[in-house]
């Protein structure tokens, strides 16, 4: 009915997906997903963003197959040090004679690891605190939101620096530090969404069926706030990558000889004028991946969160 606009030539699969009378749970879900996908693909930049993110994932998985050299073992310092990009060394070599292309390829694993862990740690914390605070209101809301305010008051990089300084440098500690500083905005968004939902009739209706509070929060409130949080997390990914790279650059993130992009830029700093490729190649990788996440986030916002789109 309302959900399926007439199409020029609906093929069998398309008709099945757009059916206004789905015959199973799966068909309904897939049909919904397909409509979202159609809206998403209308935005070519968003598709480019998605392509970049998929490329990052593929490169990270297939790194040993793609990289022609070892990312950590140094080359011959007399003949292979600081070579410019060429057919042999696509991105040139660094001061240890290592192939920069191989290091960038392996560095994608670290970047993806950071991004995934931060998303997996920070998003649930933020969503739980936000929805519980918003749904309960009263003193629970006050306490949880004041804690959130305290974390929001710290500048992210400075707090991450303090954490890394306290826990010791290393990529894991950098991830923990970034996660601790990135959940408060998610809690705010989840709370704001929950406040608009909690007094609606469909929540009252499920309350009148005798549903417990956890059931209402997990089954009815979170599905409605999660999309705007996902959009925000995706848009934040660029910032997270930059923070991780910044910590690496300052020597507080990944430690040598790990091929972390930020740390690679830091080593390239010494040769910036004469051997630009040492800093520029990992810098370019940071730029492309951050841009990819930003474009993807914009596209997701248009699909998942039409209110926030202009």
């Amino acid at each position: 009915m309302a959900g399926a606009p007439p199409l020029p030539q609906p093929s069998g699969l398309q008709a099945w997906l757009l059916s206004s009378e789905p015959a199973s749970r799966w068909q309904a879900r897939l049909g919904r997903g397909y409509l979202g996908w159609r809206a998403f693909t209308k935005n070519p930049l968003a598709v480019l963003g998605l392509a970049i993110v998929i490329l990052l994932v593929l490169v990270a998985i297939l790194a040993p197959l793609i990289a022609p050299y070892s990312p950590v073992a140094g080359g011959d310092l007399r003949t292979e040090r600081l070579l410019p990009p060429s057919g042999t060394f696509w991105f040139g070599t660094d001061d240890q004679g290592r192939d920069i292309f191989s290091r960038v390829v392996y560095g994608s694993r670290i970047t993806l690891w950071v991004v995934m862990l931060v998303a997996v740690i920070a998003t649930p914390i933020g969503v739980m605190i936000g929805t519980v605070a918003g749904y309960h209101g009263g003193w629970i809301d006050t306490v949880l939101m004041r804690i959130t305010d305290i974390f929001l008051a710290f500048p992210r990089l400075i707090l991450a620096l303090a954490f890394v300084a306290a826990l010791g440098p290393g990529i894991e500690n950098a991830i923990i530090a970034i996660s601790i500083t990135s959940w408060p905005p998610y809690a705010r968004i989840a709370r704001a969404e929950t406040l608009t939902i909690r007094n609606s009739d469909f929540i009252a209706a499920v309350k009148l069926q005798g549903a417990s509070t956890p059931r209402i929060i997990f089954g009815h409130v979170i599905p409605l706030c999660i999309s705007s949080v996902i959009v925000r997390v995706t848009l934040d990914m660029a910032g997270i990558i930059l923070t991780a790279a910044g910590l690496g650059f300052l020597g507080l993130g990944a430690q040598p000889p790990m091929p972390e992009w930020g740390a690679m830029v830091a080593t390239g700093r010494n040769y910036l004028i004469d051997q630009w490729w040492v800093a520029a190649m990992p810098g370019l990788a940071i730029f492309v991946v951050s841009l990819g996440f930003n474009l993807l986030g914009d596209g997701l916002r248009d699909v998942l969160d039409p209110k926030a789109a202009k």
């Binding site: 009915m1 959900g3 309904a28 009252a204 009148l208 005798g210 549903a211 009815h220």
Partner: protein, 278 residues
């Protein structure tokens, strides 16, 4: 208290009914304190026999919906008592209460979860109460409200207003309650659909022996569905009357008479009287 008891015994003596399914005694609902205090409902008492339909009528802000919300626990009971099936309701309500009393909301566009299919909406109450054979019961619930199995996996945005309200009714009935609270169930629908839903409600009541409390500002709707009704104004019960009296235009209370006049819609006489008074 005394009056309620004497009224009850009179009813029993007259043999009009068994015990009332729902008995509201001196119900008060108060929001806020100090100068923000709002007395939404003041000392409202009425009772409904099993299998009967009772109307609450009044203009916006008369507290009629608040009475419903207080019965089912969405609004606080500040004073007075509510008895359902002879038992006083507890705060907070237990699961047994929710199996007995269910509610249908005014706006079918707001009362269904936008991300849940009809299937999910209907299976939720069954899951909460640990009911088995959800498959059969969902299909049966759809059939009861006149919808086929083809509606089962649709999302609310794929349904019309009337279909949504049918789903909301199916959801309320799937636990086999004895009392159904209807909060203006037709006011968000257009006229032809209104009639369909009212007839469906009427039919379901007779088939399942349900007890209804219907809140409406529409006298015609109340007169169609209910036997007795309470006219409310400013949180107070003004007059308890019958649908027959309403249809014949007999009302002892001036305010009720005014409502009946208003429900006849625009009439030249009313305007003439009003302009003569000016």
């Amino acid at each position: 208290m005394m009056s309620a008891r004497s009224r009850l015994s009179t009813a029993t003596l007259l043999g009009l009914c068994k015990d009332p399914m729902l008995d509201i005694q001196k119900l008060k609902v108060v929001y806020g304190t100090g100068h923000l205090r709002v007395d939404a409902v003041k000392d409202v008492s009425f009772h409904v026999e099993a299998g009967a339909a009772y109307g609450l009528v009044g203009e916006s802000g008369s507290g009629k919906s608040t009475v419903l919300r207080a019965i089912c626990g969405l609004a606080p009971i500040s004073a007075g008592q509510v008895f359902v099936d002879g038992k006083e309701v507890k705060e907070p309500r237990d699961k047994a209460f929710y199996r007995t009393v269910q509610m249908v909301f005014q706006d079918p566009y707001a009362s269904l979860h936008p991300r849940h299919t009809v299937d999910r909406t209907l299976s939720e109450p069954l899951a909460i109460h640990g009911e088995r054979d959800a498959e059969v019961r969902i299909l049966q619930a759809l059939r009861e409200v006149g919808l086929g199995p083809s509606f089962r996996f649709r999302y609310p945005h794929q349904l019309s207003g009337g279909q949504r309200q049918r789903i909301a009714i199916a959801r309320a009935l799937i636990l086999r309650p004895k009392v159904l609270l209807l909060d203006e169930p037709t006011s968000a629908l257009d006229a032809s659909v209104q009639a369909e839903i009212l007839n469906l409600l009427d039919e379901l009541r007779r088939k399942m022996g349900l007890t209804y409390i219907l809140v409406s500002h529409d006298l015609a709707v109340v007169a169609h569905l209910c036997e007795r009704l309470l006219v409310m104004r400013h949180g107070e019960g003004v007059e308890e009357t019958t649908a027959v009296a309403l249809r014949t235009g007999r009302a002892s209370n001036a305010y009720t008479q005014e409502l009946i006049e208003a429900s006849r819609g625009f009439s030249r006489d009313t305007v003439k009287t009003a302009s003569a008074a000016l």
